[in-house]
């Protein structure tokens, strides 16, 4: 991506050149280039009717636009009779234009409205009861994801990465911890605001396995730009395995370096971050119990590699200016110890 001069051309140029995105972000073969492209791609019953509605409307309106543009062109350029060059039309003349034109457009609009209402009805509710209920809470500038369970030991919390079983509707309860955010995973469903003081609902369902990108779309402050999320749709078996792994509390490893790292973590990080099964119970930042299992860091800003993790911890304010986490001033030895500890969180 070089040399594009505006945000909009940005998109088109990428499309035209067919550039392939960073492999870590490849959602699925088709939507790798524009991961939020909901107009051409849909992977679930909550967004497919909308995509078809979009095609229908766009095509119909494009045709009508061409007709009107032609009418205008003919109106401007058609040959006038030379016999009465000085006559000025009467005021009432031509009113039929308005009656016929408006009558036709009214009929078309009514038909479109009915089509719109049918589509709205289709996407309002899933076909059968949701298999899974999640609570997603928007924070400045990341997403907390809670997998509820009647048995509190089976309940777990993660961040920015939502795993769902493929082919099943999933109900998402949307909340906000601070300002208004909007949950949007375009190839799976339309958007819904997360409003403080309210619990909104949104359902998603993926037809195919894959990783689907989402983004906060309600401007929410300095780092609104970096408030992404991912939905990972997996087969039932894979999803169960993932869920079981997430339910486990952190394993205790007591090698020397890891232990030093754990002390640094308790001292510097545990005020905001939790690691289940330990004394670290901070609730302001993402739960880090299974940090290494996640694909992305920092609300989708970085891929989760050991190198990026170190950069994120030490250069937070440079990479995501305004983020609630400070850049940590640590010595090289402390960093390697902390990394060693964090790498055990899998």
């Amino acid at each position: 991506m070089k040399g594009s001069t505006s945000g909009c051309r940005f998109n088109c140029i990428v499309l035209l050149c067919g550039l392939v995105a960073t492999p870590g972000f490849a959602a699925s073969a088709e939507n790798r280039i524009a991961p939020l492209n909901y107009f051409l791609h849909s992977y679930g019953p909550a967004s497919t009717p909308t995509m078809h509605l979009g095609w229908g409307f766009a095509a119909l309106l494009a045709i009508i636009f061409i007709i009107i543009a032609l009418l205008l062109a003919v109106a401007v350029f058609h040959k006038r009779s030379v016999e009465e060059p000085r006559s000025m039309g009467r005021e009432e003349q031509g009113v039929m234009w308005i009656y016929i034109g408006t009558g036709l457009s009214t009929c078309i609009l009514l038909a479109m409205t009915i089509y719109m209402l049918i589509t709205l009805n289709k996407i309002a509710k899933p076909m059968h009861a949701p298999a899974l209920t999640l609570t997603v809470t928007g924070y400045d500038w990341w997403w907390k994801v809670e997998y509820e369970n009647g048995d509190s030991s089976r309940r777990f919390v993660t961040a920015n990465e939502i795993h769902i079983p493929v082919g099943q509707p999933v109900l998402i309860k949307l909340k906000s911890a601070d300002v208004i955010h909007t949950f949007w995973v375009p190839v799976l469903a339309g958007k819904t605001q997360a409003i403080p003081g309210l619990t909104n609902q949104q359902w998603i369902e993926a037809d195919v396995e894959g990783v689907y990108l989402g983004q906060c779309t309600q401007y929410c402050g300095l780092q609104h730009a970096h408030m992404g999320l991912e939905v990972v749709a997996q087969s039932e078996a894979e999803f169960r395995a993932w869920q079981d792994a997430q339910r486990k509390t952190a394993a205790t490893v007591s090698a020397g370096d890891v232990n030093t790292g754990w002390k640094i973590f308790l001292d510097q990080c545990a005020g905001c971050h939790a690691v289940r099964g330990t004394e670290a119970k901070g609730a302001h930042g993402p739960d880090l119990t299974h940090l290494s299992s996640r694909r992305l860091l920092a609300g989708g800003l970085l891929t989760n590699t050991p190198d990026h993790l170190v950069q994120w911890i030490t250069r937070t304010q440079e990479l995501k200016p305004g983020a609630r986490m400070p850049s940590m001033a640590l010595t090289a030895a402390e960093i390697s110890a902390l990394s060693a500890f964090l790498s055990t969180l899998n």
């Binding site: 945000g7 543009a69 003349q93 408006t102 300095l222 305004g322």
Partner: protein, 485 residues
């Protein structure tokens, strides 16, 4: 005042205007001249209440703000020209897009139309001046002061930064501690006073000061447009003034109107803002459409087709315009039934616009057009009007809006509506009325050049944003990563 001539052609129900006359050289004439003439020198310059002077001031001030908003847009585009660019900090970018919106929507688009209306109303209606000339001057000075007040926050680095629709709780003190939002709130309360006073002035002038014979069926469409816009403003502006005043109380006096923790409702802000916001978008286009309705027939050398239908459609747009504000809030989790109603009204509101389009096409078709600069602007405007209207139908459809909302499709749509339906008629109107304003014609060649540069440039710049939005590009993002496509 000497003899009062009364003219009562229809005997009964019509209002009888009071027309006085004073013979030249009489004391009455001198007294009147003293009252009406602006005093010489700088005092007169400051204290003038002449509607023409005020009209020109509105136009010039609005154009200066237009230029400033344009510069802000250019800076933002340079920031977005490359992925991960760091020309601007996120905070600077946020202030820029907020001020760009505020400038274009509040400091340019309505004031520029007030400029036309101030200058032209008394001439079109045959009245001596506006009904309340001093109020008229007040309205202008408050507008200017509010504009300067808002812009004074820029050099301090504390300009409004929560977007022009300024959602709470982000705009509340907990999340936005600087004076940024207080500046916006007070600026909006001031602008609200200016707009309300100006609107009342237009309404009273129309109803009380028309020349005899200027029946309601003969007033130019520009007057219809400004009248409906003014009536709408009188109803809509209190909503936004109240919202900003409550927000200011929350921030400065510790009230809890929008504060969730103490039982406030963030959604209340969205309702109050858009109950004003949606009628407002019609208030900034109806008078501009009026310019086209009045000036286009001149270049087609025939009267407008369907005057009554057009006047009625203007009113209908405004009435329906009060019932569609929820379409800015489709994603707030409302019940499907409510979404259906507001989605349907939002689509139906384009029917009156259809009347307008067919009236323009029929007028051109049945006329003998001359291709002067204003004609080019008006014909180009019809194209942009249709594109903006059609993208409006797309976003009115609830399921589609849930995808399109807050993407670049909205950016494209609102620029087609505001640039297409406001700026193009305004520039065409300037070319058309320039001789009346300043006593000389503008250069025809430069005019044609300016039209083609604007028309092609605008479409090249903004049409692709529809595509970007459909491909999922979110708006209000200070920098995009390369992999986002």
């Amino acid at each position: 005042m000497a003899d009062v001539a009364q003219d009562t052609p229809n005997l009964n129900l019509t209002r009888v205007p009071e027309i006085g006359s004073a013979t030249i050289g009489s004391t009455a004439e001198k007294h009147l001249a003293e009252l009406w003439e602006s005093a010489p020198g700088w005092r007169g310059w400051l204290s003038t209440v002449d509607h023409k002077t005020i009209g020109i001031r509105y136009l010039v001030t609005a154009f200066i703000f237009l230029l400033m908003g344009g510069v802000e847009a250019l800076i933002m585009r340079v920031q977005l020209a490359r992925p991960n660019q760091t020309l601007l900090t996120p905070e600077q970018y946020n202030q820029l897009f907020t001020m760009h919106g505020i400038t274009m929507i509040f400091l340019y688009s309505l004031p520029v139309l007030s400029g036309f209306s101030n200058y032209l109303w008394p001439l079109m209606l045959g009245s001596r001046d506006m009904a309340f000339p001093r109020l008229n001057a007040l309205s202008y000075w408050i507008f200017l002061f509010a504009g300067i007040f808002l812009y004074a926050s820029f050099p301090l680095g504390e300009a409004p930064n929560a977007g022009w629709f300024n959602y709470v709780p982000f705009a509340e003190l907990n999340y936005n501690t600087g004076p940024n939002i207080d500046v916006y709130a007070l600026g909006m309360v001031l602008l609200g006073i200016s707009t309300t006073v100006g609107s009342i002035n237009f309404i009273v002038t129309l109803f009380r000061m028309r020349a005899p014979g200027m029946s309601i069926g003969r007033v130019p469409i520009l007057v219809w447009g400004t009248l409906t816009a003014s009536v709408a403003n009188v109803f809509a502006v209190p909503s936004v003034s109240l919202a900003f005043f409550l927000l200011w109380l929350d921030r400065q006096m510790g009230t809890h109107f929008f504060d969730v923790i103490n039982g406030g409702k963030p959604l209340l802000w969205q309702h109050l803002f858009w109950m004003f916001g949606h009628p407002w978008v019609y208030a900034v286009v109806l008078p501009a459409m009026g310019i086209v309705f009045d000036a286009l027939p001149t270049f087609c050398r025939r009267p407008l087709v369907g005057y009554s239908a057009v006047a009625l459609s203007t009113m209908a747009t405004m009435l329906l315009g009060f019932g569609v504000w929820i379409h800015h809030m489709f994603a707030t989790g409302l019940p499907t039934l409510a979404l259906s109603f507001f989605g349907a009204t939002s689509m139906v509101i384009s029917i009156p616009s259809g009347v307008a389009v067919f009236a323009w096409i029929a007028t051109i078709w049945l006329g003998r057009p001359v291709f002067n600069t204003p004609f080019l602007f008006f014909a180009g405007f019809v194209i942009l009007f249709v594109i903006g209207g059609f993208s409006g139908v797309m976003v009115a459809a609830v399921p589609l809006d849930l995808q399109l909302n807050e993407t670049y499709f909205i950016v494209a749509h609102l620029h087609y509506v505001l640039l297409g339906i406001n700026v193009f008629p305004v520039v065409g109107g300037i070319y058309y009325w320039f001789p009346k304003f300043f006593g000389r014609m503008m250069n025809e060649n430069l005019g044609k050049w300016s039209f083609w540069v604007m028309f092609i440039g605008f479409n090249l710049g903004f049409f692709p944003m529809h595509v970007a939005g459909l491909l999922g590009m979110p708006r209000r993002i200070y920098t995009y990563a390369p992999h986002m496509g």
